[in-house]
Structures are given as C-alpha cells and as structure tokens.
Amino acid sequence: MAEKMNLNRVPMPKQEPKVRARNFKEVAQGYTPEMALEEAKRCLQCKKRNCVEGCPVNVRIPEFILALREGRMADAVKELKTNNALPGICGRVCPQETQCESKCTLGKKGAPIAIGRLERFVADWERALPSSQKPPTQIAPPTGKRVAVVGSGPAGLTCAADLAKLGHKVTLFEALHVAGGVLMYGIPEFRLPKEIVQNEVQYVKSLGVDIRLNSVIGKIDTVDELLAAGYDAVFLGTGAGLPMFLNIPGENLNGIYSANEFLTRTNLMKAYLFPEFDTPIKRGKKVAVIGGGNVAMDSARCALRLGAEEVYIVYRRSREEMPARAEEVENAEEEGIIFKFLTNPRKFIGNAQGWVTAMECDEMELGEPDASGRRRPVVKPGGGITMNVDTVVVALGTTPNPLVPSTTKGLETTKKGTVVADEATGKTVKDKVWAGGDVVTGAATVISAMGAGKRAAAAIDAYLKGR
C-alpha cells in the first residue's frame, strides 16, 4: 500500500453548461469503468459502517464498493439491490452530501467517497445487460397474503418491491397513465431520464407486482372497499401532489403555472417535444420561478431548455436559507439562471387578453428566526420592484392530495393534510393501513420516501406473518 491516498474524488463528466442549457439530455454523464474503479479504490472499507447508517434504506455501501473494485460487478449489483430496489434513481437524485457521504471517514481530511456516482455506475452497468444476464433476485415462496399499495412513487415502489420479495402478492395502484409518480411527472429528464425510471419500474414488476395504471383510489374503490375485497393490508404512498399558490391578485392570469403543472406538461406529457407530442406548453421569453427549493431549480432549468432568454429564481429569503441542494443551485447558476433574493411577489399584472406581463414584488429583509430556524423574511418598507415577465412558475411546495385521506374512514390527518403514521413502522391509526413518504411528512426527498416505504414493508410483513 505504497500508493498515496487521493483526497479528491474523481470528477464526473457533465455536459457543458451552454450546451446543456438548450437540451433535455442528461446533464451528468456518469463514470467510465476506469473512473469508477479509481474512485472505488479510495474506499477505506471502515469497520464501523457510518455511511450505511447515513442511508435511509441502509444500502450495503462498503460491500457493493468492494465488489465493484474487485471486478465482481454482478455481486456489486446484488449487494446494492439487497436494500434498494431503485439504485439507478437514487444514484442520481439522492442528496448524498447530507446522508451517506456526510458520514464518510474520508470526509474528515478530504472529499468523501462519491457513493452516489458509484451507485449510479453499478445500476447503469446492470441496465445495459440483456435481461437474460441480469443477476436474478431471490423471491420468497408465496405467503398467500395480498397487499394493496396506493401510489407508485418512490415510497410505493419500494414498499411494493420489498413485500413482493417477501412472498406477498402486491397490487400497486397508480392514478396517472404511467408508474413512477414524482419520478415521472416532477423530476426532469435532464436530471433523471425517464427510461431509467421505467427500467426500475420494470424491475419491480419482474418481482411479481401487479401495477394497475389509471386507477384513482378513492374514486374507483376506496381503501375500505379494498380491505373488504380481501386485501390483508394497505400501504398509502400517495405523496404530496397538491400545489400551493401565493394567493395574491392576478394569480389566475394566463402564463402563470404551478410548478406541478409546468413540470407535468414538460416531463410527463413531453411538451418540450410539442407538436410531436400533443400537449403544449407556453415557451416564455422572460420567466420568473418563485421559490428556492429543488422543484424551483428544476422548473427554472426546464424553462431555459424550452427556449427562455432570461430565467429568474425569485426567492423571499437569501441564498443561505434556500432549501435546494447546493449541487442543483450550482448547476442552475452555471446554466445562467439569475437569482433574485429577498424578493417576494405581491401582485401579477396582465394584459387585455388575460396574459401575465409583469410582477410587482416587495423587497424583503431578514428578521428574527422563525419556526423553521431560518430568519424570517419581512417586507422592507416603501417601494418594491416591478419585473416584466411573460411566464411565471409558482414553486412554493406541495401538500398531500386529500383524495385518499378524505375517502378513508378512521384515518387521522393533521391540519396540513398529512396522514398521521408511526415513524418507525408507518402504521396509521386505522386497522390494516400503513402510510409513508410525502403523504406523511409533507414534501421531502425521494430517498426519505423510500426509507418510509421500506420500514412499512417490514412492519406489514411482520403483521402478515403474525409477529
């Protein structure tokens, strides 16, 4: 071991900012085998597995990295998939910097090992294999129990996959015409190619999960009717799909979108390929995106790729308070997104045809910390600014869709509309019903939803086996 440890991680190739700002192809292009090997060599294989503890689904990180660097790729896949049914997705969209990578021993002296990039490399290696050569997954013998999973986003897919592996018969209900939830309608193609999502959905299907698309639970059967029809347990992973608006004058003018609508048209309905695809979207020249989270970054970067000349992120607090991942903010800035901090819209102005033309904003300053611990933005007295815009995307966050909670008897919900469930097990107060992901926590991350789906699957399995 004469070789000196490299304290820097191997960088991942990315499309040039100027080029990528005008296409929907994936920004980060993944490691080559040589890069992956070089990065994997940096892993210290610590006895105390801090990285695993930092992962909401406890991916067997040291094991998969070891297999990878020893050239045992099939083993690397197996280790990775033991606890994570969706590695191609997690490798791309997990905030590793605050989870597994933040616990890495290497991080004390240099850069932590790039776990996410290696995860992605292994998942992509498997995806490229012909199906006959893919490492098989062990599925337990049938238990004869049936579980209904409602919602096919990250929580639902994970819960369904784990239960299927344990031998239960799982039906997964999805309201939209494709499975994947927010992974399909929300996260853009350039960050998470839809082919990768569908590939992982196929994997979940291959475990025996029966996916029923176009099925809005609460409108077709209710949860109670599912139970009456013989399902032994129900998991609710219906997410946080209801958009919040500013509730200020002029918000219903044409050209003002919720981020959900803007992203759904763009990603799910492929409006960026209009008119080859039938769903249109307004291709604004001057676009303002309101909000400072990942969804705001995604919306702004989509607007740019749709051909906007100027795209603004308008955020009422300052840079430090932005909830978006640092990497996404950096990507957005590189591409030319303009940040307007301490600015908050108070009124939209439209033309005679009902289209938005401008946005009046208050200038803000930071006051005392609020409940979130961040300094509260307060209106600076006097003045304000007017921004000329032809498209606005409101990305203030989402709350749970009440469709299922409101049609399910005996479910407890909070004022925010979230379903009350035990954090460790996902158990709700209603008999035979579990819940997890954004419907319980409010809008959060893909991986935390997956963690909740996983814990609920374990709890449901224990219940079904009478333990």
Binding site: L176, L213, N254, N260, G354, N401, P402
Partner: protein, 283 residues
C-alpha cells in the same frame, strides 16, 4: 386497455363511444367526468360522462370534433382501444328533491344533461328541459331528454327546428311563469352558461353550471383548471366541475380556455397534414 365496445355517430362530427371500463362504470354518477388519452403521445383531456352500464362494465362518452385530440379520437372504430381512461373524476352533480328544475342543454352538452335530468327526475323533481342547437342537423337525443322531462322546449339558432331562439329566451319565459322554479342546471358552451346564469340571476334562482377548463391530470395535482368562484380560486377537477353560475368569474375562465389557441392551431394543422399524406400514400 380500454376497448371501444360501440360507436355511434350522432351527427357527422358528434360521436358516442361506449368504452369498456368496469372500475369506472361501478362508481360513475351524473355530472362526473373522465380523463382520456387517445395514444401514448396524446393529451390528457376531460370529457363528462354521458352514460354508464354497471352490469356491462361500460362508460359512454359523447364528444364533438374540435381540435387534434378529438379528431384523433374520432378516427377510432369499435374494437379499437384508448391508451388511457381515468375516472370517475370530480364531484357528482347534487341530486335531491328540489321541486321544479329547469335543465338547459346547449349543443353537444345535451349528452351530459341527459344523465343529470334523469337522476333529478328519479329523485322526484319536475323537469322542464330546454335544448338549443345551431341547426336541426346538429341535433341529437331529443327522445332521451324528452323521456326524463315533464316539458321539453327545443330551439335552434336558425329556426330550422323548434323555436328560432337562443336558450336564454325560453329560459327567461319559464322563469317569468307563475310556477316556482327551484333550481336551474345549465350545461353547454361557456358563453351559453355565462348568459344562462345572467338570465337567471335577476330571478334569484340557484343556477348550477358544469365548467370545462383545460385540464392535465384531473386529480388536483396541477391547478391548470383553476377558476374563480365567489372570489375564491377553485380547482374544477376536484371541487367541480359543477359550480354556482352566479359566482363564476366567466372572464377568467374564458381567457384561460384560450391559453393555447396558437398551439392548438399548429397541432391541428400538423395532424391534418399527416392524415392527408397518409391518405395520399394509400391511394
């Protein structure tokens, strides 16, 4: 897949499709709608349910050829399938014994008024129906509406059948009669619903309209269908499509319906070009 079990051309450009969709049929009620997609590249667009048969597991929709999506849909035959068919969405029309209800149907919306009138009739109401079409050739379902109405008034814009009038004229006359009218249901083109609501307002009769804004998901997720009712923003897909016509901000609705006029023209021109070249290829 959602098989087309039966197709009927009610007029040259208004069609009825009976779709195999047992889960939707099981729960469908008057006033609710479905979202459908013709093919993988298609739009998600809403159509109000015209009829259903729980035993057969079918749902019927009636649509008029307008843009790309409805023209694509009209190309399908019995035996073909739709790519997606989601429902029943929205809140069903409020049905109880009100007394006397006037049901106003404008154009192809007659197909949606019929199940509502039927349900209201079954609930014990006296039904006075008014149906209006541009001309005689565009008319359909006179018999169906008649069957669930105590009185049926027909008018056409050009006088080619029934009275020469817009629906608002007989509506006003009915309201001026000595008889107490407890509720009006007006469903049709937005402009007709706007004027029907304006007609009933001075009489103080509660008027329910079924709004038809642009939608994407139809389950409360996107907010594309937001409308202003009584100064409040409502999502038509989950809180409607029925609203109090006296409280709807019709200007906002009509402006929002025109959000994609240019794109719709472009899309339609492309589709028609494609149809032409395909026909040419065959010949």
């Amino acid at each position: 897949m959602y098989k087309i079990l039966y197709r009927e051309d009610l007029t040259p450009n208004i069609h009825l499709f009976k779709i195999e969709a047992p889960a939707v049929a099981k729960k469908a009620r008057a006033g609710q709608f479905v979202i459908l997609m013709v093919d993988e590249k298609g739009e998600r667009f809403p159509l109000t349910i015209a009829d259903w048969d729980r035993k057969e597991g079918s749902v019927s929709i009636v649509f008029m050829e307008v843009g790309t999506s409805t023209q694509k849909l009209a190309k399908l035959k019995a035996g073909d399938s739709l790519y997606a068919f989601i429902g029943p969405l929205g809140v069903p029309t409020e049905v109880e014994k009100f007394g006397t209800v006037v049901c106003v149907a404008g154009g192809f919306a007659t197909a949606i008024v019929v199940p509502v009138a039927k349900a209201l009739k079954q609930a014990g109401n006296k039904i006075i129906s008014i149906m209006g079409f541009r001309n005689k050739d565009l008319m359909f379902w006179e018999d169906k509406l008649k069957a669930c109405s105590d009185e049926l008034i027909i008018c056409t814009d050009d006088g080619s059948y029934g009275r020469k009038a817009l629906v608002t004229e007989p509506l006003k006359e009915v309201l001026e009669r000595k008889e107490k009218i407890d509720r009006v249901i007006a469903i049709g083109p937005t402009i007709m619903m706007k004027f029907a609501s304006a007609t009933t307002k001075p009489f103080g009769v509660k008027t329910i309209v079924s709004l038809n804004p642009i939608m994407v998901d139809g389950t409360g997720m996107c907010g594309c269908c937001r409308v202003e009712v009584g100064g409040k923003t409502e999502f038509t897909c989950v809180n409607g499509p029925d609203f109090d016509g006296h409280k709807v901000d019709w200007d906002v609705l009509m402006a929002r319906q025109k959000s994609y006029t240019d794109e719709e023209k472009r899309s339609l021109a492309l589709w028609q070009e494609m149809c032409k070249s395909r026909m040419g290829g065959k010949a």
